[in-house]
Symmetry: C2
Subunit: 215 residues, 2 copies
């Protein structure tokens, strides 16, 4: 659950500074993206630059620790939704949570979807995310809510795509991503009668060309 990379130190000031550092890094990465300097994070945490490298061997290690936390959080959300009543709503809620995370964290959406040269632990967490997404998708698929050819990986990839589509609008309209989430959902779901202008023919009034033994 708490996927810290390095071992947690023993001295009280060290554990306190580590917390300060993780909190400051999470906020700063979220606001400004992966390009922020270590110096800025250290300043925000109220510690020296050298302290950062005492706790994390490199900038990438620090970033990975933060990203891992976010990914695990999403995995937990998805896992909880596996027991929800309506598989369709569960999938929608999972995707909404995913896109929401991307919207509120700039570094998160910069890291995800760039599998090249990425921390192995982060890769593993993304795999876990794909697994839970696949479980949610399979449940919805079994009820003919989503197409048979849509996978959990599709769903995870779509999270980034939905966010990226809405990104230019988010400053002016922070909820714009919901528009494209619905669009994507319409793309992956099987069309239902509510999308057609008229209710569908349920049974033909007179002639039924095929045998209908059951009911």
């Amino acid at each position: 659950m708490t996927g810290t990379t390095s071992a947690v130190p023993s001295r009280s000031d060290a554990v306190r500074n580590r917390r300060l550092l993780l909190d400051a890094a999470a906020k700063t990465f979220a606001e400004r993206g992966v390009e922020v300097s270590i110096g800025e994070i250290a300043q925000r945490a109220g510690v020296g630059k050298g302290t950062v490298f005492r706790h994390f061997s490199s900038k990438e290690e620090l970033l990975a620790a933060i990203m891992l936390g976010m990914l695990d959080e999403l995995v937990d959300t998805g896992t909880a939704l596996l027991t929800a009543d309506d598989p369709g709503s569960a999938l929608r809620e999972f995707m909404a949570a995913g896109v929401q995370s991307l919207v509120t964290d700039r570094a998160f959406c910069e890291v995800i979807g760039r599998p090249s040269l990425q921390h192995p632990e982060v890769r593993d967490a993304i795999d876990r995310l794909c697994d839970v997404a696949e479980a949610l998708t399979a449940r919805a698929r079994r009820q003919d809510i989503v197409r048979p050819d849509v996978t959990g990986t599709d769903v995870v990839l779509l999270l980034g795509g939905i966010h990226h589509t809405a990104a230019p609008l988010l400053i002016a309209e922070p909820q714009a991503w919901r528009r494209y989430l619905e669009l994507a959902l319409d793309g992956i779901t099987i069309p239902t009668e509510r999308r057609l202008p008229h209710p569908p023919p349920h049974r033909l009034p007179l002639t039924t060309p095929d045998p209908d033994p059951g009911r």
Copy 2:
């Protein structure tokens, strides 16, 4: 059409170097993204670093010149498709061309969709792209192919989203973006009978509740 920012010089060696520079910059930006150094572009063009800044006042100016060319190319493609027979296919082809451009040019997909602090000429070109996309969309909308609430701006935004969705797969499977293009198209189009498991009832064999004077 050819949206060069600075004036084209008069001396023969200068115009030759300018061409060399534009070609090298286009290739290098496409392959490595906007982060490539001016030095690398100059080296690839076979000129000195100073020559770059003689022709373009800054790196951003050079990048804008390249991006402007790509955007205008897409606008031309869209304009040509406005006279195509089938509005639905025209829209699909336009979107395919757009995503294809994003797939083959890393800088292009980094620049588009980041309207903040962007060259005004590039902004204008994006506006023109939205206009032609709106024209294409309106044509498809009029024939009930796409939803009434989908705009040209939606379509342009979706180009980036589709590419971004497929990006992690493109190295292994360069055509993967087509999957998500179809998905997006399914999201913005009005469901048609070909998506239902059986062909629709065309005319009821016997009872026709509404008058059918024509035939």
